[in-house]
Symmetry: C2
């Protein structure tokens, strides 16, 4: 990923205006702690004007485009290494979403070094913070669900 | 208006992501040709996160903020000189809305040199182009209304 200063500033502005930085906690029994932690950086555009997303994808050279049924095209960067690289590149230029980018980098770092169910639960609580700083309307405390499942599966003491 | 290259690139990205460039044609009998031509550059943000719009206003040093009833804050630049200056600054950095910025500058230039009702009608037709390039859902051909009124008022031959 080789971005000029000008490209970084433009992409940061575009992400602040019409993008999202968040982490999904998805129930998935095949994972050690029964949840997948999926960090995301997403850009949106209506299908009619998705040339800008094509340019973005070509410039950033990571991630993929996805057409939604409602006519919105999403440009999704979901691979951990790509996200880390992009977030580090944009961090000094972001304004509105700088908090989210910092939190994302912290979650990715802690995710790599997880050793216990207790640490997993603490990370799930950290991920809850996204709901607050993103002013999410369907604000859920996913960590409560995580705690319940980890106890059910005897990964945490009841 | 003194913007660094980095600020111009960021603002262009933000405008491409979440802003609007358009021209309103408002019926107004006090005007010579019975319509006011009002060019606009507008940035949007939810009220909870309007700190970025405050920063933008401070940085661009033009225009004003307006709270809508639905919780959206608009940062509006509507003064012709300010728009011209801003559009010229952002033009090389815009991607999605570069067409709109060029059209805006052309409309402003022609507006200054209007001499006849025929020229006014031709300009109204030019303004119709915004509906197309902005993929406006309520696409109206304002020039048809302009022609009708100019003929009613005997400013144009019927």
């Amino acid at each position: 990923m080789k971005l000029s200063q000008q490209q970084k500033a433009y992409i940061a502005g575009f992400l602040d205006g019409d993008g999202s930085i968040y982490v999904q906690l998805k129930p998935n029994t095949s994972y050690r702690y029964k949840f997948q932690i999926a960090p995301m950086i997403v850009f949106y555009q209506s299908q009619k004007e998705n040339s800008n997303l094509c340019w973005l994808q070509k410039t950033i050279n990571r991630g993929y485009l996805r057409k939604r049924n409602d006519g919105i095209v999403e440009y999704i960067i979901g691979d951990t290494n790509s996200i880390t690289e992009l977030a580090q590149n944009l961090l000094p230029y972001l304004r509105l979403k700088q908090k989210q980018a910092k939190l994302l980098l912290e979650v990715i770092k802690r995710k790599k070094n997880l050793k216990t169910a207790e640490e997993f639960l603490a990370l799930a609580r950290k991920i809850d913070e996204f709901q607050i700083i993103n002013y999410s309307k369907k604000r859920k405390q996913n960590s409560i669900m995580v705690e319940k499942i980890l106890k059910q599966k005897r990964l945490l003491a009841p």
